[in-house]
């Protein structure tokens, strides 16, 4: 409690309350509301026409391009989430097995790249994956390929790889936290009762870390599907994603109402994914 006794009814708490409710309404709720209302407007001759209608949503469902791109993007982001979780789990496990300060120091090292410039990382990964990049040099040197491959840059593979590398820390953290919460006594009990390491992992550790796995995948999926910079930088012509289409509506295509409608659909997808994640977690808790 911040205010006690007579201070509760003073001017200061009232002013504070007024500010605390006004601020989120003005800077967060109103912008969201205007974005949603724009999705019911339409564009005519480069001018935004303000009569409400489902025009944009109808276009999304009837035009043959948008639903396949959305599906393709969802599949791509599911793959990113799966891959990041699959790679992140053993690392989180390794970290959780360390003792004392070393554990948190390494966890910190996993998290530090998150503070490093997003755009620089995309750019660097692009140059590593590209025709003259380290990956191709390594594959040439190792004799896997005879000429530089363009399989890893300016297509959906590149988007998949780049997003996975960028988002791995977001997968490691929740899994680590769920592994850390498992009581040592459970594992000791399992060992004492004669279970092998593999059995202990399969029947004790893995089930108890499932909530962490779900959080990790949801996290990565949501971050991946909202990203338009990565596909724009490494996707090239073929790596078209839903986020890129939305962004182009606010730039070159200049159709803000349609862009808003697509963004609203994206939000809907994200809410569903988060809802599903929550349900799964609750079932296992």
């Amino acid at each position: 409690m911040i205010f006690v006794g007579s201070a509760r009814t003073g001017l200061w708490p009232r002013a504070l309350a007024a500010f605390a409710y006004a601020l989120p309404v003005i800077v967060i709720a109103l912008p969201l509301f205007s974005f949603l209302s724009y999705s019911f407007f339409r564009v005519d001759n480069g001018e935004i026409v303000r009569d409400l209608g489902l025009f944009n949503y109808r276009r999304f469902f009837t035009d043959a391009i948008f639903i396949p791109v959305l599906l393709q993007t969802c599949i791509l982001c599911l793959a990113v989430a799966g891959l990041a979780t699959l790679i992140g789990y053993p690392v989180a496990f390794q970290l959780a097995n360390l003792k004392g300060r070393r554990r948190y120091f390494l966890l910190l090292l996993v998290l530090v790249p998150l503070l490093m410039s997003y755009i620089i990382k995309i750019y660097a990964i692009r140059s590593i994956l590209g025709g003259n990049g380290f990956l191709n040099r390594f594959l040439l040197w190792a004799g896997f390929i005879t000429q530089p491959s363009s399989l890893f840059v300016f297509n959906l593979n590149a988007v998949l790889l780049t997003l996975t590398i960028l988002l791995i820390p977001f997968a490691i953290l929740p899994i680590f936290l769920s592994l850390e919460r498992i009581p040592k006594s459970l594992i000791e009990a399992s060992n004492d009762l004669g279970a092998t390491n593999l059995q202990t992992f399969r029947w004790i550790v893995l089930p108890l870390s499932l909530p962490g796995i779900v959080t990790a995948s949801t996290f990565v999926f949501v971050l991946a599907i909202g990203d338009f910079l990565t596909p724009q930088m490494v996707g090239g012509q073929s790596g078209f994603t839903f986020g890129r289409i939305i962004y182009s509506q606010f730039g070159t295509a200049f159709n803000w109402p349609f862009g808003s409608a697509l963004a609203a659909i994206l939000t809907f997808v994200i809410v569903i994914v988060i809802g599903l994640g929550n349900r799964l977690e609750r079932r296992w808790l």
Binding site: M1, I2, F3, V4, A7, R8, W12, L16, A17, F19, A20, Y21, L23, P24, V27, I28, L30, P31, L32, S34, F35, I87, P90, V91, F93, Q94, R101, Y104, L109, V110, V112, P113, L115, M116, S117, I119, I120, K121, Y123, A124, S127, I128, N132, I168, P169, I182, I187, N197, T200, V222, G226, F228, L229, M233, I246, F250, W256, A263, L266, T267
Partner: protein
């Protein structure tokens, strides 16, 4: 936590090593290549030189972009600290459904993809008739990092408990006196930590900025524009300098939280 067989230990360590390589490779490669010559769009690994730094020094837009980034970072962190603290004080002054709704609203910009936050603000500013400028960028960053400031202050206030405030009031202090003599001094280290982290986040924020900025550009936006035009050597030099700066910021952030890591270990 678990006893593991040697084979499993080796594979786990290898995989962890590979992941660290994946995480740090993209940070090390541009720094390394900034010290070499570039010809025909390729880094010449046998010709070390500082020419990319010389080219960067000749690039006028960079200094302006750097100043803009600092201005935006400091203003947004300051505003976010003030707003976040006030919101946290209100949240901790009682319990109600309205407070929970307020908290949800404050978290939203941090939870939603930046493209949604960015384009909502873009449309909102257009409706208000506010032209896109550094002001709109500062507003966007403030809304984004305010969630983080709010969260850290709420956690600190909750761990402080109510006895300090009660004692202060019992001894006859007014709400203002309690605020400035009891609460704020206890929040100082939390506020510094949240401020540094906010600045670091604002320093790198790209997606919201890209949507709400006008002709002014911050460093990430400048980089984005340079990278889209193609490969020039000064990009590597700039990237190396920015990474150096963020590294310093990271150390500052980490230094703010050692006690929390110790207590958990």
């Amino acid at each position: 936590m678990m006893r593991i067989s040697p084979l499993a230990t080796i594979s786990l360590l290898t995989l962890t090593g590979v992941v660290f390589l994946l995480l740090y490779g993209p940070l090390v490669v541009p720094i390394a290549s900034s010290f070499f010559d570039v010809a025909h769009g390729n880094v010449q690994w046998d010709q070390p030189s500082l020419s990319s730094y010389a080219q960067l020094a000749a690039n006028d837009g960079i200094i302006t972009a750097f100043k803009n980034t600092l201005l935006v970072g400091f203003s947004a962190s300051f505003l976010a600290l003030v707003c976040g603290t006030l919101l946290a004080l209100h949240y901790c002054s009682g319990r109600s459904l309205a407070r929970e709704a307020m908290q949800f609203g404050v978290y939203l910009p941090f939870l939603m993809p930046p493209i949604i936050t960015g384009l909502s603000l873009l449309i909102f500013f257009r409706e208000l008739g506010v032209p896109r400028s550094l002001i709109t960028v500062i507003a966007g960053h403030t809304i984004f990092v305010q969630a983080l400031c709010y969260r850290t202050v709420v956690l600190r206030l909750q761990s402080l408990g109510s006895s300090l405030v009660e004692a202060s009031t019992d001894l006859g202090a007014s709400a203002w006196q309690t605020m400035f003599h009891i609460l704020l001094p206890n929040l100082t280290s939390t506020l510094i930590g949240a401020g540094v982290l906010s600045f670091a986040l604002s320093f790198d924020e790209t997606m919201i900025t890209l949507l709400v900025t006008g002709t002014d550009s911050t460093l990430p936006i400048r980089l984005w524009a340079m990278m889209r035009l193609g490969f020039t050597p000064d990009i590597n030099a700039l990237v190396a300098l920015i990474l150096l700066l963020t590294f310093v910021l990271c150390i500052l952030v980490i230094r703010q939280f050692p006690s929390e890591f110790d207590s958990q270990g």
